[in-house]
Symmetry: C2
């Protein structure tokens, strides 16, 4: 479906987003690091730096003031207002990423900010926009937004390096950002934060809904469970004399999955995604085994329940499996992050106006920059469907009509926030 | 315990093995590739070639005729007899091996052959000895003995390469063996084959028995079971929509272990030693998983039972686990190899004379060169204890008294075979 050049806004909206311009700029942004149907544009890479230069030019064309900070975030500031809402997402991609993850929200932020200026709205607050750096953890998880929110200690910056050993400080210097000051959150200016993002899951796609109003970003906990036994010859070692760490891990994982299935509510998900066996040879009884246990959900009590079940099973395993040791350590601990109720109500109204009866409230199962903004200012998120639920893949895609609907709905929401929030 | 220079043989034996000479030569052989308490002497490496030159000199000193063949086997031939029994083992080690695995049997063969010549026995047949090449599969499993037994096809030789890509044919040329003819088994000459080896398991060590009379080399079967699902985001993918290959593998393995424990006899052992998960990341639902299933035992019917149970579970998994595919392919299939009853009875008598009441009959859970000799000529094996059951390790060791006892017992057995077998 091709949208007309300046689409009439949904009833009551003064901000007219330009769907053709939106899609054209999304395709241009995609070209920085394009690889087949995917994009390889890792944080602070040459393509990432070039894409941000291009973005800054678009901001300036729109009459916004563009500034960079040391970690690579790019901000566009509406010079006509002392206060503004902030709309954005991240510009970097996965090592082999899709063209929409983060990028869609960046260009939607650009389009809404410039359409708002074109509409010359007489609103209480303006609309700023941002392109965050390194959400995808090339150097550190949510590097740009955490730095902005004061959650990135100097020692973490100094120590950060990617999987190939490239240091963050070197990448910053290579990008030309080393002389820039870091930039911190400005709650005196920013009244709220909005972010549009692809769902990266199958719920909207399967349900036929066009928009998802995010209620909360799930909490996530991850643990590494380790089993220690003894390597032995697979032929000459009687079963009764073995200390098989791999078998202990298998029994543990099967039992944990059963307990989790019994205890789970409708929303919590759990994954045992990474297994390592040592020495991992068919003719050697395993000396060691590790398994990752990760669970995510919007309800803190359910996360606590799952953690308790895990610890209980670790203790039982330590007692019953006799010769094989079992230990656990925590890897991740993110609290659930509810979205702001008032902002979410505004986003929901905008969704209903844009896609009547074809939207739903839902948690976000993935982390986003918004989760760090939420404690600092009222925050809301809007999802569009991911075709096949696919993300983190060259096959990531969303129908153009859904991208445009997402932009329109967020523009409506932004307009209401800019009008009513003071 | 230090044995006297020429130990009196056990009652009735004319062959007097020289325990000090035995141990001195074992320690010299160990020095080729010694690394701390271990040995790194891979087949056809410089240390391996040097060790075989040294060995050939020892054979010649004893009045035996030493010959090499193309794949690196070294043979010592008793020139006084038209027929002989053959005693030996392999001279190469694991990538990081112990000092006794194979090497003990080689030097025991040397010691018995030369002690027999010194005793000037008037026996019907003589005693030859052999040092096999590449039992440890640097280039191919049991390369030397299989080549000798006509079980190594020319195309396998041409294609064989080690894990680093070094080709067997190049290694043979580098060792200087390329112009040597291959050598095949000579059942017209060799009336029987005997091999002494460390147990490489914990049974003798734990029981306090000094000697093990091998009844059979176990059969072994190995399968690779593969699960195919779909990679998905660990946060955004509802549990009901997952195709988790890792979870399917875990459930399968837990169920199989339970069924095997129910079905097993006293001797069969089973091992799931190698697991691979793809993509093996904590935040990604596994798309694929493989697990090795290996079982070994002396009883063919029990091996068949285990294979049937495996196939049954694969079929059930294919039906019940719905979205995750399950396939299986066979990797190894070695039939059990019984030792010759008459030879084994002779070895047992020798064990009782050497270590009264401190020996037992037992299967070999590891493969040996003897398993390829057994179909060609009456074959027997003798075990000595492995301290802590340890092998394939720098910590591999056996008490000197047990090594000497093994040599004495095998000398007694050899003498009886040489006297009675025609």
């Amino acid at each position: 479906m091709t949208a007309p050049a300046a689409a009439p806004p949904a009833a009551g909206g003064a901000i007219r987003i330009n769907a053709e311009r939106l899609m054209a700029d999304m395709r241009t942004f995609r070209s920085f690091g394009a690889d087949g149907t995917g994009v390889v544009r890792r944080a602070l890479s040459a393509f990432d730096v070039q894409s941000r230069e291009w973005l800054a030019d678009r901001y300036r064309e729109a009459g916004l003031v563009a500034t960079f900070d040391r970690v690579g975030n790019v901000f566009a500031h509406d010079p006509r207002h002392a206060r503004a809402l902030l709309i954005g997402s991240h510009g970097d991609t996965q090592p082999r990423g899709g063209w929409l993850d983060g990028a869609m929200g960046v260009i939607i932020g650009l389009e809404i900010a410039r359409a708002a200026r074109e509409a010359a709205l007489d609103t209480a607050i303006g609309i700023d926009t941002v392109c965050w750096s390194d959400e995808e953890a090339r150097f550190a998880h949510f590097l740009g937004s955490r730095a902005y929110c004061g959650l990135l200690p100097d020692d973490e910056i100094a120590a950060a390096a990617d999987d190939a050993g490239v240091r963050l400080t070197d990448a910053i210097a290579e990008a030309g950002y080393a002389d820039l000051p870091p930039r911190g959150a400005d709650p005196a200016r920013h009244a709220a934060y909005l972010e549009a993002h692809i769902e990266q899951g199958p719920v909207l796609d399967r349900s036929g809904d066009q928009l998802g109003v995010v209620t909360a970003i799930v909490g996530a906990r991850e643990f590494l469970v380790s089993f220690s036994g003894e390597a032995n010859h697979a032929g000459t070692t009687p079963m009764a004399l073995r200390k098989d760490a791999g078998l202990a891990m298998i029994r543990f994982a099967a039992a944990l999955d059963t307990r989790y299935a019994d205890a789970a509510d409708d929303a919590i998900v759990w994954t045992m995604g990474r297994i390592e066996i040592a020495p991992n040879a068919p003719s050697i009884v395993p000396a060691g085994a590790t398994i990752s246990v990760q669970f995510r959900g919007p309800d803190l009590a359910m996360l606590d329940r799952f953690e308790t079940e895990l610890m209980r099973l670790v203790l039982e395993t330590g007692k019953n499996d006799g010769p094989v040791g079992c230990t656990v350590r925590q890897i991740l601990d993110y609290r659930p992050t509810p979205m702001d109720k008032a902002v979410t109500a505004i986003v929901a109204r905008a969704a209903e106006r844009t896609a009547p009866g074809r939207w739903r409230r839902m948690p976000s199962g993935a982390g986003h920059d918004a989760q760090f903004m939420a404690p600092l200012m009222p925050t809301g998120m809007l999802f569009v469907p991911s075709i096949g639920g696919i993300s983190h893949s060259f096959d990531e895609d969303t129908a153009e009509a859904d991208i445009v609907a997402g932009c329109r709905a967020l523009a409506l929401a932004a307009e209401e926030v800019a009008t009513r929030f003071v």
